[in-house]
């Protein structure tokens, strides 16, 4: 199945072949298909919330292309990097509420994030600072090397001016915890996050 994604690094793949059970309303305006949705990140937990969205009534306005009965839908993808599962859950909830059609992927460490992000397009990365293993600055630096297109921000409880200055100097954003909709929106509004065809 993954071979079908060759060259496609940022799409949610929707299997529109006959006999698939999942009902996905991804065009909006009442048009229905019976599909299975699989993201390039595999059958990740985050796919569930994406599917839930597509089962809802919201319409999808991004780009899509077709091939061999599959629809490839470009999603804005956000990678959450935080060693606290609770923090990831809270962040996911806030983002999903404000941006229900985003694909949200999680990593519990900088090391895991590098693995997950390898070869994939990620629009937004939110990185905790104090983590086991490499810290958020190191993770941001390494991820930035492979993902010059990504918008990266720290998402941390460490509100010290020195941390904020270092983030600015490193060309990454700074969002303080606890996360809320206003803060994440302010960060995203500061720059365009768009999925391109």
């Amino acid at each position: 199945m993954l071979s079908m994604h060759a060259g496609v690094d940022k799409f949610l793949s929707v299997d529109c072949r006959p006999g698939k059970m999942k009902r996905v309303n991804y065009y909006g305006k009442g048009e229905m298909s019976y599909c299975t949705a699989i993201s390039v990140f595999g059958l990740h937990q985050s796919v569930k919330s994406t599917i839930n969205f597509y089962e809802g009534t919201a319409s999808y306005t991004g780009s899509k292309k077709q091939s061999n009965g599959w629809e490839y839908i470009a999603l804005t993808t956000v990678l959450l990097i935080d060693d606290s599962r609770v923090s990831r859950m809270l962040t996911r909830a806030v983002i999903a509420r404000r941006f229900p059609d985003w694909l949200i992927v999680e990593a519990a460490s900088g090391e895991e994030a590098l693995e997950i992000a390898e070869g994939k397009h990620i629009d937004v990365m939110l990185i905790d600072l104090n983590m086991y293993g490499m810290d958020g600055f190191r993770a941001a630096e390494l991820l930035r090397g492979n993902h010059p297109e990504s918008r990266i921000s720290l998402l941390t409880a460490n509100i010290q001016d020195t941390v904020q200055e270092r983030a600015r100097a490193s060309g990454i954003g700074f969002i303080s915890k606890p996360i809320n909709e206003d803060r994440i929106t302010a960060f995203l509004a500061a720059g365009e996050v768009r999925c391109s065809p």
């Binding site: 606290s84 609770v86 104090n130 086991y132 460490n158 509100i159 001016d161």
Partner: protein, 197 residues
């Protein structure tokens, strides 16, 4: 200055519990013998089992900062914070992690705003969770853990209360006397800077 730092922590907690008002006591600052720390803490906690999140810090000042709750009310707080995003099962499983995250955000808010006011960075360790009687704060030597050197320490104590959830707890900061001296000097220079005297 402690008022501002703790106020910042309370503001962070207030956001996490979606606007519930948090009453803070006037911070108490005293120099006490380290042997008295436990009895001083026990005076507030009583014999009831407590949970605490402890974070060590170093830099201009070195010590430990603790957020302490009675154990029987802590699940209420967890429910308030992650109740919307976690199932009942997950909540029990995540209770400890959620409290660590609460502690992480509060303690960092407090330490971070102190560091910002003093204009000097403070390094902090990852927060750890502790459970048991107030004696858990003791190390094997019978002294408060992490504080092995001087006999006199500076002790800052602030209690807080969330009326709606009948939850109260307190924040205690223990630092050695060298730190206390450096702390006082930094405060002097902060006051000098602000007042311009």
């Amino acid at each position: 200055m402690i008022n501002i730092a703790v106020g910042r922590a309370a503001a962070a907690l207030n956001q996490m519990v979606e606007g519930e008002e948090i009453e803070l006591s006037v911070p108490e600052l005293c120099f006490i013998d380290r042997a008295d720390v436990v009895s001083r803490l026990a005076r507030d906690a009583g014999e009831a089992p407590t949970v605490a999140i402890k974070q060590g810090f170093s830099g201009l000042i070195t010590g430990n900062i603790l957020l302490i709750f009675p154990e029987n009310r802590s699940l209420d707080l967890v429910r308030q914070i992650i109740g919307d995003v976690a199932s009942a099962e997950e909540m029990t499983e995540l209770e400890q992690e959620a409290l660590v995250e609460v502690g992480n955000i509060l303690l960092n808010a407090c330490l971070g705003s102190l560091a910002n006011m003093l204009g000097r960075p403070i390094e902090s360790t990852l927060p750890v969770f502790m459970q048991g009687g107030i004696n858990m704060l003791l190390s094997a030597s019978g002294r408060p853990s992490g504080m092995e050197r001087e006999d006199l320490i500076m002790f800052i104590h602030v209690s807080f209360k969330m009326a709606e959830h009948k939850l109260s707890g307190y924040l205690a900061c223990v630092m050695d006397i060298d730190s206390a001296t450096a702390f006082r000097e930094a405060i002097d220079s902060y006051v000098y800077k602000v007042v311009g005297a």
